[in-house]
Symmetry: C2
Subunit: 297 residues, 2 copies
Amino acid sequence: MYTIGIDLGGTNLRIGVFKENGELIEEQNCPTEVEKGPEYTIGIMAKAINSIKNKYQIKAVGIGAPGPLNPHEGVIIEPPNLRGWVNIPLVKILEEKTYLPVKLENDANAAALAEAKQGAGKGASSVFFITVSTGIGGGFVLDGQLVSGAQGNCGEIGNMIVNPNLDAYQGLGLNRGALEGHASGTAIGRMGQERLNITNGAQGVFQLAEQGNETAQEILDEVVNYLAIGIANIVHTVNPEIIVIGGGVMKSQDLILDPLIKKTKQYLYPSLKAVLNIKPALLDQKAGLIGAGLLPN
Amino acid sequence: MYTIGIDLGGTNLRIGVFKENGELIEEQNCPTEVEKGPEYTIGIMAKAINSIKNKYQIKAVGIGAPGPLNPHEGVIIEPPNLRGWVNIPLVKILEEKTYLPVKLENDANAAALAEAKQGAGKGASSVFFITVSTGIGGGFVLDGQLVSGAQGNCGEIGNMIVNPNLDAYQGLGLNRGALEGHASGTAIGRMGQERLNITNGAQGVFQLAEQGNETAQEILDEVVNYLAIGIANIVHTVNPEIIVIGGGVMKSQDLILDPLIKKTKQYLYPSLKAVLNIKPALLDQKAGLIGAGLLPN
């Protein structure tokens, strides 16, 4: 028996076929073409699933998609990254079109499952995955099982308040002083524009910091500090064996990851500091697809 | 088959006998007499267990004790509330003295298990328990199982940073702006002393607030705000079905619980706000003992 995993992104639609052990054996990609509406994209998904069904014995389909969504009801609510998808009962539609059980999850949760099972968290009893990219998201895997949350919102750490004295940024939905508003790639880019007068986003800030620019370094210090507060808060809340961090912002390991580990330790109880285990994600762009393929297991 | 539950507190030692369904059928209490040292108290525990063994068929013993402790190794590390207990291998000693399997957990985790199984969280798929008393602690129960944490520190939310611009208080171990330093009973008492010049602790602040004193009300508003940030951060991290709040500070329901629910909603995503479920704890002083009795199940 095999599973199908689908990574439904705002730009790309990735579809993979997986062995029951989670090994990806076939993959196809195409543009999501979100401007053509959900019916069009769902049609492509159904067609691909039914075509794969002719070749493999498929047990079920897993889909990772941008939130907000309701995994228990299988409904995509209204993701900023899938414009035009409003209250789409994706699971019901696909189950009717393919006669297969379909499971839907938040894309960060799917990525968390992949990193816990096959990536940097492999073998750990509990893994908290954090992705720092345009936004900030995460997911929690305990004893090999994804913790979805009562409303499927486990890991929505972008909205965690790390300093209530700061402003709200990056969309009306976020709290004042939310982690995502002050430590995401978008936040770094905004600070670059405000303080350095540059318009090339987080990348520009990283470049200047590497060249020794003090203001750029201050921005990164601030970001590292808020990420450290966020991680320490997670550790004191669920005490995972390992924290796995992925996303574009984490690629600059010297500038972010090493100082982040050091800073996080300052915020932990001694017994937790001694065993803090923060690792960079291993699966990168593939995490969402692999996680989707693991969802039905 | 029965279990024995022991609530090892700094002042009182409670020992209960439980049916396998968690029903408490017999209870005995005595002072811990911590000044006589761990050997004395452990002796009393062993004697009580062996005496109960003559009457009931006992499967195992569960103990809830103040942290820090290591539940995986069964060692009490150095709790401020059990002066003189330093690196005591309690599980090993008691197993040797009683020939029964013994399980040790943090007292807040034990209370969380009790509230999830028999208290305000009964029937919920996931319960996050918070106790606001002299200190602030908590515990997380998922699908009926206590989430202990990789180092047994799940639920150590007293050290969660809710405002990094604030000071560190209440013991050197806490972070600057930690929840416990700014929202515990001790914190309320300290603010009463600083701003109202009263010395009768949190109780004094509650009394003045009830009489319409504005400064006392401001203190409580501040405390409610930090508790709300803490709860919202927990909800965005693990999205439990229900939050159960206990501890002495929560007894003033009108002054704390109702405003707290209202404030927490301000910090949640709309989909989470709509379903927020915060309930006062039901088991009160008994939670620790009942949870200890449930630990071996």
